[in-house]
């Protein structure tokens, strides 16, 4: 059943086995899986069926000058969450992501690759990617490098709102509340057991919902923000006794490494090449993993804000025949033939963090300030990887790379932007000293509060986060059904 919390009040608020806040990919997948096991689920979505500015404004916050970021633009706050505008690229973590390593004095994943992989079939199924056997599609056999391998990620066209609205509507075990915002989490006297979720609509109506188990699945910024805001019973917030909530914010680093010219004999007719760096490179050069795209100008023109300007130039050139110069500009706006972009791993780092500020949202909850920070390990990783890639590019005679000056000149600041992949703010760790949730995604220091989504990632790897976060969601569902 789908209930508009702006209009209807729900009298019996303690009939549920699970309360889940957040109806994005993780929340919807979890609710449906738990409901399949015969349990009653309340699923709360802060937004409506469609985008609304009043809901989206809840995401607003500040960002330090360290690196630019747009908290209220990247994610979407309505039914289906950010899958309403995602590109759909999917790839699971690789084995190397789960190898034991200590970076910036923080441990990596406390679970194994094999354990994570147990839930790959379920994640593939909900994304309708069952037919994908391998996520490595090697087309360019002329490349022989130990440092990177050609890669094409699978792509899912699933928009969770469109795909699952009907199922949520007719499922007798799920009540989906729209316009239902989690504004407080109340604890029992033991300060370890969650007593109820306080849910509020946009007309200031509040209602408490009670269940044996509670899950927050609101995205990496909001998961941390609600825990920090719930400070009426524990001054540091829920699950934050070791001051780890909001720490280790990670993104996938998008860096314009430079430009390139290609060797046509090696390149063929390809307009772009996408590579994954290998664990061998990561180990030898002390780098994170990375997904690197070499895109030719011809391909690049199809994307970004310059596309319209280029299209205009093209139209003028072709239709009016006014100037060969316009055509020249259209074809050659980069040095060389294309640019290199990346999806680089950012290492967990405590100084990359969220903190509450005095400014409040319309529910009276304090907003956050993001201090997105690279560690020296990240900076070294980016420079080492860039040089290794450029060197391999030349040795394989794929072409030649001109690196950006901030790569070759260590006195310059590396220019980064994100991919809207927010991760790590409630990271998983066996010990509460280094994380917020345990191996079962249960918040340390609580008995019945769990977190779903990419905020629990211990490390971010170099793959789009939706597939791994769904694997972890199904793992959480298995755990919850096993204990209740």
């Amino acid at each position: 059943m789908i209930i508009d919390f702006n209009n209807d009040s729900h009298k019996n608020t303690n009939e549920y086995d699970y309360c889940i806040s957040g109806a994005g990919a993780a929340g919807i997948a979890l609710a449906l899986r738990l409901a399949e096991s015969g349990k009653r689920v309340a699923l709360f979505e802060g937004g409506d069926r469609e985008y609304s500015q009043v809901s989206q404004d809840i995401y607003k916050g500040k960002v330090t000058e360290q690196n630019p970021y747009w908290l209220d633009l990247y994610r979407l706050r309505f039914l289906g969450g950010t899958t309403n505008h995602w590109a759909g690229r999917c790839r699971p973590f690789v084995e190397y992501d789960f190898e034991e390593k200590q970076i910036n004095d923080l441990p990596g994943w406390p679970i194994s690759f094999e354990e994570m992989n147990r839930f790959l079939p379920q994640a593939k199924s909900i994304l309708e990617l069952e037919e994908i056997d391998t996520f490595k599609i090697v087309e360019n056999t002329h490349i022989e490098s130990e440092y990177f391998e050609p890669d094409v990620s699978a792509s899912s066209s699933i928009r969770f709102r469109d795909r699952f609205s009907e199922e949520l509507e007719r499922h007798s075990n799920v009540d989906l509340y729209l316009n239902a915002n989690l504004v407080d989490i109340q604890l029992e006297e033991d300060l370890s057991t969650i007593k109820h979720f306080v849910i509020q609509n946009y007309n200031q109506k509040k209602q408490s919902f009670t269940a044996p188990h509670y899950i927050i699945a609101m995205g990496a910024i909001e998961n941390a923000r609600i825990l920090l805001n719930c400070d009426s019973q524990i001054s540091s917030g829920i699950g934050n006794q070791t001051n780890m909530v909001g720490k280790c914010f990670m993104e996938h680093l998008n860096i314009r490494l430079g430009e390139f010219v290609s060797n046509k004999a090696s390149w063929g007719e390809s307009q772009s090449m996408q590579f994954m760096t290998t664990p061998k490179l990561a180990k030898e050069m002390n780098t994170g993993l990375s997904n690197i795209t070499f895109g030719t100008v011809r391909q690049i023109k199809a994307y970004g804000r310059t596309a319209e300007i280029k299209a205009l130039f093209n139209k003028l050139s072709c239709q009016l025949g006014v100037s060969e110069h316009l055509q020249f500009l259209y074809e050659h706006d980069c040095i060389g033939e294309g640019v290199i972009s990346t999806l680089c791993e950012q290492f967990p780092f405590k100084d990359s963090k969220l903190a509450l500020i005095d400014e409040k949202d319309s529910f009276g909850l304090r907003r956050v300030e993001l201090d997105w920070h690279l560690s020296q390990n990240d900076i070294d990783s980016i420079r080492n990887m860039s040089i290794a890639i450029a060197e391999e590019f030349a040795e394989n005679n794929l072409g030649r790379v001109k690196l950006s000056s901030f790569i070759t000149d260590s006195s310059q600041k590396i220019e980064i932007s994100g991919h809207a992949h927010q991760m790590g703010t409630t990271r998983m760790s066996a010990s509460e000293e280094f994380g917020v949730v345990d191996v079962n995604c249960k918040v340390h220091q609580t008995n019945n509060l769990y977190i779903a989504g990419s905020s629990v990632f211990s490390t971010g790897g170099a793959v789009n986060p939706t597939m791994p976060l769904l694997q972890l969601t199904y793992r959480l569902a298995e755990h919850l059904t096993s204990i209740s």
Binding site: G258, I387, A390, E391, E395, R400, V401, K402, L403, T408
Partner: protein
């Protein structure tokens, strides 16, 4: 004869000045043999931001 002698002297004088200036590096940018080559990786070099391999160094244009 005077005309030719003057011309030879003039060309000679200009050439002498030119060679002297080049030797004092005033116009060293005319010389093509001072490309800055910096070792950047295990087997690679940086030339004006471009990364080239050791194999590239064996080619005429980079030697």
């Amino acid at each position: 004869m005077n005309y030719h002698r003057r011309k030879v002297l003039k060309v000679g004088l200009v050439s002498l000045i030119g060679i002297s200036l080049l030797n004092t590096k005033t116009f060293s940018f005319f010389k093509k043999d001072d490309i800055a080559l910096k070792t950047i990786g295990k087997n690679s070099y940086l030339v004006d931001g471009w990364v080239i391999s050791k194999n590239d160094l064996n080619k005429r244009e980079f030697s």
